[in-house]
């Protein structure tokens, strides 16, 4: 070990705050006091049950509950699987998951609509979070998370899914009948 490295290690052991200060910044909430966020997020629905492949609209209401006007908020939709083993790729679930929130005067609300497509079966939580974009005009907003929407997506596993058996058996059957008919007709003509 070189002398410089040894000194650095000794400093790090003696004073962890100094060692981590270069790479870890304190969380934003700590700098903005511990005041509750000045934004409230609400969803139109608490529960939705749908089937695999179906889409539905979801409305969220973002309200400025603080005393100052807010601008530059970004709303983000996220999907989390509550079913063990079901992988969620949120990009598949909604074509646009990030939207800008218009400027909000104190006490005013904005409605942000989302389109959600059920692309996996199982139980999921869908929620909306607003994030300040770092502008001084929304420093008091903080991170606001809405209540989760409970989503149940059913998938049915049936033998004849969508009538596939009729197609899978019917078309070869029709072609087989056409083959037999053509051959029989030809045999009759040859006699």
């Amino acid at each position: 070990m070189t002398r410089r490295r040894g000194v650095a290690l000794a400093l790090a052991l003696a004073c962890p705050a100094v060692a981590g200060a270069a790479s870890i910044a304190p969380p934003a909430a700590a700098t903005g006091a511990d005041a509750p966020p000045a934004v409230r997020v609400a969803l139109d629905h608490a529960r939705v049950a749908t089937r695999l492949g179906a889409g539905f609209g979801l409305g969220s209401t973002i309200t400025n509950v603080g005393r100052r006007p807010l601008a530059g908020l970004v709303a983000h939709l996220n999907v989390v699987s509550l079913t063990n083993g079901v992988y969620v790729d949120p990009e598949d679930w909604s074509p646009q998951r990030t939207k800008n929130v218009p400027a909000l005067a104190p006490g005013r609300s904005a409605r942000i609509g989302w389109r959600v497509n059920a692309v996996n079966g199982g139980r999921f939580a869908v929620y909306v979070v607003t994030v300040p974009n770092g502008s001084p005009r929304n420093a008091s907003a903080g991170l606001a998370i809405g209540p989760p929407l409970g989503l149940r997506v059913t998938e049915r596993r049936v033998f004849n899914s969508g009538g596939v058996v009729f197609l899978a058996v019917g078309l070869p059957g029709l072609l087989g009948l056409a083959t037999i008919g053509t051959r029989a007709r030809r045999r009759r003509a040859q006699r």
């Binding site: 598949d92 996996n120 049936v158 197609l167 899978a168 058996v169 070869p172 087989g176 053509t182 030809r186």
Partner: protein, 269 residues
């Protein structure tokens, strides 16, 4: 080598029509056309059933299932057309019927072109048979038009390429077995790169290989249209090698190969 007088265009077209008509009757009313289509539809039935009932498929992966079905339809449809084309001349030679064909009042170009068209009818039939399966799989994700259009465009170029290649090989091969073996080997060799892992398809050399090979180029085009929902013209450059293959091999089959059409075969074997 027999000399071939260049027929006028109208004579060649008439000869082509006469030969194609007779070959189509033989293929579809008395031959292997319908049984081959039964086997083809059974294969698509299995794929469609597995795709429709597979619970582990993500909803968005339905487009990939549609793409898989298109790829299988193109590969097997082209294979069927090529097998019939590979038998077209060498089969007549082996059955002892080529002599009477060559003595018939039709030009050799007309003979080759007529047999090429008849063999291609198998691809067209395969495309029609694949239609209901693609509709079934694609109806939920709105991919039917993409799938049928990509299959009709890229698949037809691949089918023409292989069918014309089959005619060329069949004209040259001394035995039917040799003709079919060479045809199938060529088809499998060209399909092999489609099985390469994604990592092996990176880099300029790999992309060049994929672009030059008509099969991989057509497969790439179909995938972009069906899975990635690209427009018809966005990846049109990938259709260059299938187009060049189709035009060059059709020229070889209809203009060059008839010059080597003889009772014993010439170059191969």
């Amino acid at each position: 080598m027999a000399t071939v007088a260049a027929p006028s265009r109208s004579t060649a077209a008439r000869d082509t029509g006469v030969v194609a008509g007779q070959e189509l009757r033989d293929l579809w009313l008395a031959g292997r056309g319908l049984p081959l289509m039964v086997a083809f539809s059974l294969l698509l039935s299995v794929i469609t059933y597995l795709g429709a009932t597979n619970r582990s498929l993500n909803f968005l992966e339905r487009r990939e299932t549609v793409n898989l079905t298109v790829q299988v339809a193109v590969a097997v449809g082209a294979l069927l057309a090529m097998v019939v084309a590979g038998d077209a001349i060498s089969g007549e030679r082996e059955r002892g019927t080529l002599e009477s064909l060559l003595l018939a009042p039709v030009s050799r170009r007309g003979l080759a072109a007529g047999k090429l068209l008849a063999a291609l009818s198998l691809w067209l039939a395969a495309l029609v048979v694949a239609g209901p399966y693609l509709w079934f799989l694609a109806r939920g994700v709105g991919a039917f038009t993409d799938a049928m259009g990509a299959a009709a465009l890229a698949g037809t170029l691949v089918a023409v390429t292989f069918t014309a290649l089959g005619i060329v090989i069949s004209s040259l091969a001394r035995s039917n077995r040799l003709s079919l073996s060479v045809s199938l080997f060529t088809l499998l060799a060209l399909y092999t790169p489609t099985q390469l892992p994604a990592g092996a398809k990176q880099g300029w050399a790999a992309e060049l290989l994929l672009r030059v090979n008509p099969v991989t180029a057509a497969e790439h085009y179909i995938g972009k249209v069906v899975i990635n929902q690209h427009g018809w013209t966005q990846d049109a450059a990938w259709l260059l090698s299938p187009l060049v293959g189709a035009v060059a091999l059709t020229f070889a089959a209809v203009v060059v190969a008839p010059r080597f059409m003889s009772l014993r075969g010439s170059a191969l074997g």
